[in-house]
């Protein structure tokens, strides 16, 4: 660990879910066929114009609210001008002057501690095309050009690689919870820029900031930060801190190093100005209220609720909030009046175990909460034993049949006291020897009587009632 204080700021780009692109009517979906999700504007053919996708604006505003940001009165966009082969128009439509949110804050949990994170801004923009470089030639795929991106910029307020990753994971699950993004790093849907500087513990001013661009996995973010802290610390230790310059570096996954790209003096002037093709429009209070209603309970809130209201353990609550699908499943169980603890036990043990075993996602799992309820109801009614319940659960899951079809009469537990009393009495009458031994102190013979009843009923006798009856008979 470095002896210096570490200051980290993050820029997180996340692709949004939508039917069409953010300023184009082309489809926004993963497509393996290059240049298929393309309309004339995605290739900037002369005369084309952007049209704002209202759904994307709505989702951006939603996230702005989640991050407790100040929302501007008017919505408009800016042009960020620069030349690059992946940027067909020669400018990116983004938000500079008036982002959908500024000055936000959100609490995250990192290693059991609550860490407050301050948000500089969150803004909506369009993605560039993707480039594939081959030997001597490059190919451009415009499918990605114009895909909606939400860029979130934190203040330099994080102090370790763990915190940075915890923040990114929290944000990803929030995006998923709010259903605005799949947040799949494997599909390149989340990309990060990381700013790292170090300073003496007692220093008042930040050290020299180094930016690391295009880190495409959370692991990469972690490793890049560690690498950069070490690199900068070493230089500082050796009295060569002036060699840490304000620069942009990139993270090279293969060599696990950050590599110099350009220094501040080469910084590009993006010549931002308001895009005149998109008229400013007012964000009404009514619309914001509508959007607010759509915000679901967020992971950390869910966790608190599960612990405080349903008495789940910190661990179990933590397992459930890991994925939106788990929370949805759990909430549905609760809405079916399944006991919260019982639902939690089933979900965190049998169900997650089974989906891991089947290698499927919970959404594709056959035993929906409605079906789970059949089992739990039967269990509550003591119609089946917990052992039977588990057996039926696995059978129903693998054969994809409703549990109730297994809860047949032959399987039903004998809970009728009169019936069981008859059986117990019959067994006792022919077990005089054993009763005498029992009364002489061989108390472990109690299990023998239970075993006899089970044998007689082929295991269907309700064990609790059986024990009660035997006890009553002996005393």
């Amino acid at each position: 660990m470095s002896k210096y204080k570490v200051v980290i700021g993050l820029e997180m780009h996340c692709e949004l879910k939508s039917n069409s692109k953010v300023f184009s009517s082309a489809r926004n979906s993963y497509n393996s066929l290059p240049n298929d999700n393309v309309r004339p504007i995605d290739m900037a053919f002369p005369g084309t114009l952007p049209v704002v996708n209202k759904k994307c604006v709505k989702d951006a505003l939603k996230m702005s609210m989640v991050l407790n940001c100040t929302i501007p009165q008017y919505m408009y966009f800016d042009r960020k001008n620069y030349y690059y082969p992946d940027l067909p128009k020669g400018y990116q439509i983004t938000q500079m002057e008036s982002p959908v949110g500024i000055n936000g804050k959100i609490d995250i949990e990192c290693n059991g501690q609550i860490v407050p994170v301050t948000i500089h801004d969150i803004h909506l923009e369009e993605d560039a095309a993707s480039l594939d470089h081959y030997f001597g030639t490059s190919c451009i795929d415009y499918n990605r050009a114009g895909v909606p991106l939400l860029e979130l910029v934190t203040e330099p307020c994080l102090s370790s690689a763990d915190e940075a990753v915890a923040f990114l994971e929290t944000m990803r699950s929030i995006y998923q919870f709010c259903d605005v993004s799949e947040g799949d790093t494997k599909k390149g849907q989340i990309r990060c820029d990381v700013n790292v500087s170090i300073m003496d513990e007692d220093a008042k001013e930040f050290g020299t900031r180094v930016e690391i661009k295009n880190v495409n996995s959370f692991g990469g973010v972690h490793d890049a930060i560690i690498y950069e802290i070490e690199r900068q610390s070493k230089l500082k230790d050796e009295g060569r801190y002036d060699e840490v310059i304000q620069e942009t570096r990139r993270w090279d996954e293969e060599t696990a190093q950050t590599i110099h790209m350009r220094s501040k003096v080469d910084a590009i002037d993006y010549k931002y100005f308001v895009d005149p093709n998109i008229p400013k429009y007012k964000i009404t209070k009514e619309w914001l209220e509508e959007i607010k209603k759509e915000i679901p309970m967020l992971p950390l809130e869910c966790k608190q609720k599960y612990i405080n209201e349903y008495g789940l353990s910190d661990y179990d609550a933590g397992v459930i909030i890991k994925e939106k699908a788990y929370v949805d499943y759990y909430e549905e169980c609760l809405s079916l009046n399944i006991n919260p603890k019982v639902a939690c036990n089933w979900l965190t043990t049998q169900i997650l175990g089974e989906i891991n075993h089947q290698e499927i996602s919970l959404n594709d799992f056959y035993i929906k909460p409605r079906l789970l309820k059949q089992l739990i109801d039967a269990l509550d009614a003591k119609t089946i034993s917990s052992k039977q319940a588990k057996e039926i659960f696995f059978k129903a899951a693998s054969e994809q049949k409703e549990p109730k079809s297994y809860i047949k009469e032959g399987m039903t537990q004998i809970s009728d006291e009169k019936e069981l009393t008859k059986i117990v009495e019959a067994i006792m009458e022919r077990s005089e020897n054993q009763i005498a031994q029992y009364k002489n102190g061989k108390t472990n013979l109690f299990d023998y009587f239970v075993g006899q009843v089970m044998k007689e009923t082929k295991g269907k006798a309700n064990p609790v009632i059986t024990k009660e009856l035997i006890n009553k008979y002996l005393n």
Partner: protein, 485 residues
Amino acid sequence: MSILQKSITEIHEALKNKEITSDQLVAESLQKCHEVEDEYNAFVTIVDDAKGGCVTDDLLSGIPFGVKDNYSTKDILSTASSNTLKDYVPFYDATSIENLKKSGAIIVGKTAMDEFGLGGTGTTAHTGKILNPWDKTRMCAGSSSGSAASVASGCYPYALGSDTGDSIRKPAAYCGIVGYKPTYGMISRYGLFAFASSLDHCGVLTRSVLDAAIVVDAMKGKDPNDMTSWDSSHINLTKATTKKLGEVRLCYIKELCDISNYPHADETLKQHLANFQETIHKCEDLGWKVEEVSIDKQLLDALASVYVVISCAEATSNLSNLTGIIFGPRGKGNNWEEMMMDHRTNGFSQLIKRRLVIGSYVLQKENQERYFKNAQRVRRLLVDEWKRLYEKYDAVILPVGSGPAKKFDEDVDMIDNTTALEEHLQIGNFGGFPSITIPNGFIDNLPVGVNLTANNYNDELLLNIAYHLEASMPYKNQIAGGRHE
């Protein structure tokens, strides 16, 4: 007299009455286009395989027209008179073109222009300079130069233009015809090659006010592809234009129109302003109230700079898609930067390069506040000033330019500052105001024009006023080289 020299309504009737077929009309138009091309260099493309079409009750059906070369026309070369697009054949029609096609109108030519609209002389087209049909030693002004020259020559009753500063309304004046750009957003810009998006307007050049109304009625409409377009379905320009007029209140600006502002004025300027005063008298004869108003001279003097700063800044960004990577000739080079550089270095004319440098300069971080942001502030002040005039007046009436068409080699050696007089039409673009130029006389056998500019969305009233003023003068439907005074 060729039927192509007549008005849209007259040609429509001739088609309806089968005095001529659409095929014959188109063939005749194509022939005339070739003559005009040979004489004045007005075209980039003449659509030789154009055929006549169905004649319906639509006034424009079966009638040929010309299109400025910065409109995207499906399967027809669209170069914006630039080498950067010298072989570019679009695969989609501009919305306004699509609308005209629905009316049954037939494209016969793509007209030459100042490259991408960035010019006011008609001298920067990649096909060479466009000559004025009234006098080949003179310019048509620009940038809709070819459209103006071809309509004035009688190739067809109308041609589309685009107007970012005065690019429809000044060439119209120099060529003795009508040029109209409606309120910003009435006609979709989808498919118009962008120059400066906040100032760009589609519009039309015709030989009469009524024809302009008919054409724009067909072009206009809210377009889901252009967020700045608006629903004008309640507006019927054709109907409104010929209505009887009630009380009309006009004003003109002393600081622009009074000859005493120009103590060193030459004969041409004197005649031009005197001719304007005659037009004012005609208005008064019509029973209209015309008043002289005063506007801060400093503000007026700033307008040309405001235009340069804003239009160049937006152009720098808008023309960034021209890299030769997706369309246009691929540049040479060892890497993408060299290839883009080569494409742009060889593709653009000197004038565009100059303007792009200005645009880039005023947008730079360290300059933006001083130039670009200030220009936008002054733009707002000017628009507010005009809006105040519209509280009292239906329209502002002003002379177009400082006289008739200039000679190509004319040395601009004005002692007096005539910049504001030359450039005031740009205010129509600053505010997105509807604005129309109509011919109002001749100086030295060359036509001159007068402009009327009204408040936003008042297009019906504007055309109505222009129509009645036009009727009081003998210049309606004039053809270049035809009647002189």
